[in-house]
C-alpha cells in the first residue's frame, strides 16, 4: 500500500480518545519515577563500569573506570551464571506450582457460601505476612528439631537437615510457594468476579459441565489477569531477596545461591560495589527480555485501537 503524502501525515488528526486528555497529570509520577528509579538506575549502570570498592568508595564517581571488566568478572569468577540458573529455576518452579493452587483457590471461593468472607481472608494471610517474618518462622519450622521434622517423624521419616546443601533449594521453593500463591489467587479472583453471570447461565443452557465452564468460559475471560499475574509472579520470585537471605543466611549454600543474594554478598559483604552493580544490571536485562515478550504476547501494552 502506498504511503500518504508527508504533509497529510503531519496533519493527521490525533485519535479522538487522546484529544483533550490532561496529560500534565502524569508529571508528578514522571518526576518521582525519574528521581526514584531512572537516576539511581543510571548511576548503577555507571558504577558497573567503575572499580568501586572500599578503597575507592570515598571518591565514588572518580573511582577508576574499568570498562566492561566487571561484566567479564561477573561471568567468569563471580558465579553469575550459576546464580542466574538457580534464580531461573526457582522462579519458574514456584510460579508453576503457585498457579494451579491460586486458580483452584479462586474458583473455590468464587461463588457465595456461608463463611466465604472468612475463607477469603484466611487465603490472604501468607501473602500479607512480611517476608522477613515468613522466613524467620519457616527457619524455625525447618530446624533439625523443628515442626517439619516432628511431623515427618510421626510417619517414621527422618527429615534431616533442610537448610543446608541441595535441600536448601527445595526448602526455599516450599516456603516461597506458601508465601506467594495468594498473589495468583488474588489476580484470578479479580478476573472471575468480573465475568457476568449471564455467561455461566448461557453455558448452563448449553448443558456445559463445570469443567467445560472453566475451560471455555472462565479461563478465556481471565486470560489477561492471569498472564499479568504469571509475569509479575515470575519477576517477584526472581528478584526475591529477603526470603532466601533470612531463611538461609549468608553465605548461602551454593545450590540455593540466588542472584539477588549473590549481588548483595558481592556488594555489601565484600564491598565490590562495581562488580555488584554489573551483576545487577545483567539481572535487569535478563528480566526485561521475558517481560517485554510476555507483555507483547499478552497484548497488555497494546495501544488504543490495536488488538
Amino acid at each position: 500500500m502506498p504511503l500518504p503524502p508527508a504533509d497529510k501525515l503531519r496533519r493527521a488528526p490525533r485519535p479522538t480518545s487522546s484529544r483533550g486528555r490532561p496529560l500534565w497529570l502524569m508529571w508528578p509520577n514522571l518526576i518521582l519515577l525519574t528521581a526514584v528509579i531512572v537516576i539511581p538506575f543510571l548511576i548503577g549502570v555507571y558504577i558497573s563500569f567503575l572499580d568501586l570498592d572500599q578503597y575507592t568508595l570515598r571518591k565514588f564517581f572518580k573511582a577508576p573506570f574499568v570498562g566492561f571488566q566487571n561484566y567479564v568478572e561477573a561471568f567468569t569468577s563471580a558465579g553469575l551464571l550459576h546464580s542466574i540458573w538457580i534464580s531461573l529455576a526457582f522462579s519458574i518452579l514456584t510460579t508453576l506450582v503457585c498457579t494451579p493452587i491460586g486458580l483452584l483457590a479462586a474458583m473455590a471461593v468464587n461463588t457465595a457460601f456461608r463463611g466465604r468472607f472468612l475463607v477469603r481472608s484466611l487465603f490472604l494471610v501468607p501473602y500479607v505476612i512480611p517476608s522477613f517474618v515468613t522466613a524467620t518462622v519457616w527457619r524455625f519450622i525447618f530446624q533439625p528439631n523443628g515442626a517439619a521434622n516432628s511431623l515427618l517423624d510421626t510417619f517414621g521419616i527422618d527429615g534431616g537437615q533442610w537448610l543446608i546443601g541441595d535441600r536448601a533449594f527445595w526448602a526455599l521453593v516450599i516456603v516461597d510457594i506458601w508465601a506467594a500463591w495468594p498473589f495468583i489467587y488474588m489476580m484470578t479472583i479479580a478476573g472471575l468476579q468480573s465475568i457476568p453471570n449471564e455467561m455461566y447461565e448461557a453455558a448452563d443452557l448449553d448443558g456445559a459441565t463445570w469443567v467445560k465452564k472453566i475451560r471455555y468460559v472462565a479461563l478465556p475471560q481471565i486470560r489477561g489477569q492471569l498472564l499479568l499475574g504469571l509475569l509479575l509472579s515470575t519477576l517477584a520470585h526472581f528478584n526475591n531477596f529477603t526470603l532466601p537471605y533470612v531463611l538461609l543466611g549468608s553465605p548461602a549454600p551454593q545450590p540455593a545461591l540466588t542472584l539477588p543474594v549473590n549481588v548483595y554478598q558481592t556488594s555489601f559483604q565484600v564491598f565490590r560495589f562495581g562488580l555488584g552493580a554489573a551483576m545487577a544490571v545483567i539481572s535487569l536485562i535478563l528480566m526485561i527480555i521475558p517481560a517485554v515478550i510476555y507483555l507483547r504476547a499478552s497484548k497488555l501494552t497494546a495501544a488504543v485501537g490495536e488488538d
Binding site: 578503597y55 530446624q143 537448610l163 543446608i164 551454593q254 555489601f268
Partner: protein
C-alpha cells in the same frame, strides 16, 4: 551530657538530646549501609560505632579521622584502655582511627555441675584436653553432649578455624598483609580439626550442623551440652534466666591446637579475636572537639560500667574492667581471655577472607550432616577461598 547518655539507653531508634543525635540500627547490615552512605555523601553522624572486624574496612575507605597524640590525650590517653583492645584501632600506633568502646572477647562457658559429676576438676586448656573432657561428658543416648557447636552460624565457625590456624603458627593473612594463607597446611588442619569435633569425636549433637549461636546457647542452658565455646559475656542474662543460673562458669578458650601439647615457637595463643566496638570520628565532622569530648565520656569509668549494665558489653577502660571483675567472679576470666587475644589482620580485604572461610564451612555442611567429609573437597574449597582472599589483598596493596 548526662542527659545525652540517658538518651543513649533509650530503646527508641533515634533520639535527640541537647545538641547530640544518636541513632541505633536494627541490624549490622543497616549500620554498614549507613556508614557507607555517610562516607560517600560526606555527611551524616560525626561519630560511628564500628565492630572491630569492620574497622579495617572503615579505615580503607579513608572516611575517618586518624587520631593524633593530642587527640588521644583528650580522651584520657591510650593507657586508659586494656592494651589488647587497641589491637584493632588501626594498622599501627601512628594510624589509629578507632577508640575501643566495648569489649566482647570470646570464651568457654561450662556447666559446673556436669564437670563435678564427671570428676573433672577444671576446664580444659588445650584442644586435646577439650576433646578428652567433652568425650567424658557426652552421653548421646541421653541426648547430652560434651559441647555445643554451631556450623550454621555466620560468625562462629571462622573464629574456631582462625584460632586453630594461629595456634599452629599459620595465618589467614600474612603479617605483612600481602599473602593469604587459607590454602596452607595449618588452615586445612584447623578446618578438618574443627569438623572432626563432630564427625570423628562426636562431641556435639549431630543437629548442630544446622545450628546458629542461638541454638547453641539454648542447648547449653537446657543442660543438653556441658560446654559452650565461643561465648561472650552478653550471654549472661540469657543463662541467668535459665535453670543453669549459678551452675555455670566461664574460662578461656583453648590456646593449643589439636594434636599438640604446646604451641610452636612464634605461634599466637589466639584465645579470642580482639572483639568489640570501636568509636571512630567521621572525617567530615565539623566539631571534632565535641566528638572527642563525647568519646572521652563514653570511655570513662562510670559510663563504661553503665554500658555493661545496659548492654552487657565489657569495659575497655582498664579501671572499669578491673572494678567489674573484682565485683563479679563470673567475669574475671574475661580479663585473662582479653590478654591472650590476638587481633585479626588489619586489612580492608578481611571481609573476603572471613567470608571465604565461612563459605568453606557452609558448603561442607551436607558432608558434615552425613557424618564424614572428604579432605580433598575441603582443600578445594579452601583453595577457592584463598584465591578470592589473595585477589582482595592484591587490590588492597595496589
Amino acid at each position: 551530657m548526662k542527659e545525652t547518655i540517658g538518651c543513649h539507653l533509650l530503646p527508641s531508634s533515634r533520639c535527640r538530646c541537647s545538641n547530640l543525635t544518636i541513632e541505633t540500627y536494627a541490624s549490622a547490615a543497616d549500620e554498614t549501609t549507613k556508614i557507607q552512605s555517610s562516607v560517600v555523601a560526606g555527611s551524616g553522624p560525626d561519630i560511628h560505632n564500628l565492630g572491630t572486624t569492620f574497622t579495617p574496612v572503615a579505615y580503607a575507605t579513608q572516611g575517618f579521622l586518624t587520631l593524633s597524640e593530642d587527640d588521644w590525650t583528650k580522651i584520657g590517653g591510650r593507657e586508659r584502655f586494656l592494651p589488647q583492645t587497641l589491637g584493632m584501632s588501626g594498622p599501627d600506633e601512628a594510624n589509629q582511627i578507632g577508640v575501643p568502646a566495648a569489649m566482647r572477647p570470646f570464651g568457654l562457658a561450662y556447666n559446673t555441675d556436669m564437670f563435678t559429676a564427671a570428676g573433672i576438676a577444671s576446664p580444659p586448656t588445650t584442644w586435646d584436653d577439650f576433646v578428652t573432657d567433652a568425650t567424658k561428658l557426652t552421653n548421646s543416648a541421653a541426648g547430652v553432649y560434651g559441647t555445643t557447636l554451631d556450623f550454621s552460624d555466620p560468625f562462629d565457625p571462622w573464629k574456631f578455624i582462625w584460632a586453630m590456624t594461629e595456634q599452629q603458627g599459620g595465618y589467614f593473612v600474612s603479617p605483612d598483609l600481602k599473602t593469604a594463607g587459607l590454602n596452607s597446611d595449618q588452615t586445612l588442619s584447623a578446618t578438618t580439626g574443627y569438623f572432626d569435633l563432630l564427625t570423628e569425636y562426636h562431641l556435639a549433637d549431630p543437629a548442630s550442623v544446622g545450628w546458629k549461636s542461638g541454638d547453641a546457647i539454648a542447648a547449653f542452658s537446657q543442660g543438653k551440652a556441658a560446654m559452650y565455646p565461643m561465648v561472650t559475656a552478653q550471654a549472661i542474662p540469657t543463662l541467668d534466666k535459665s535453670p543453669l543460673k549459678g551452675h555455670y562458669a566461664f574460662a578461656s578458650l583453648l590456646t593449643v591446637a589439636l594434636g599438640m601439647t604446646e604451641r610452636p615457637a612464634g605461634a599466637e595463643p589466639a584465645a579470642s579475636i580482639v572483639s568489640g566496638d570501636n568509636i571512630a570520628i567521621a572525617s567530615y565532622t565539623k566539631d571534632k572537639d565535641l566528638a572527642l569530648q563525647f568519646i572521652d565520656l563514653m570511655t570513662s569509668t562510670d559510663q563504661q560500667l553503665a554500658n555493661y549494665q545496659a548492654f552487657g558489653n565489657l569495659p575497655t577502660n582498664q579501671d572499669a574492667m578491673n572494678q567489674l571483675s573484682a565485683q563479679n567472679a563470673l567475669l574475671a576470666p574475661f580479663l585473662e581471655i582479653e590478654s591472650n587475644s590476638t587481633p585479626t589482620a588489619f586489612t580492608g580485604a578481611w571481609a573476603d577472607v572471613q567470608n571465604g572461610v565461612t563459605n568453606v564451612v557452609t558448603q561442607s555442611q551436607p558432608s558434615l550432616a552425613s557424618g564424614s567429609y572428604d579432605t580433598g573437597a575441603v582443600k578445594a574449597l579452601l583453595d577457592t577461598a584463598n584465591s578470592s582472599g589473595q585477589s582482595a589483598l592484591d587490590r588492597a596493596n595496589k
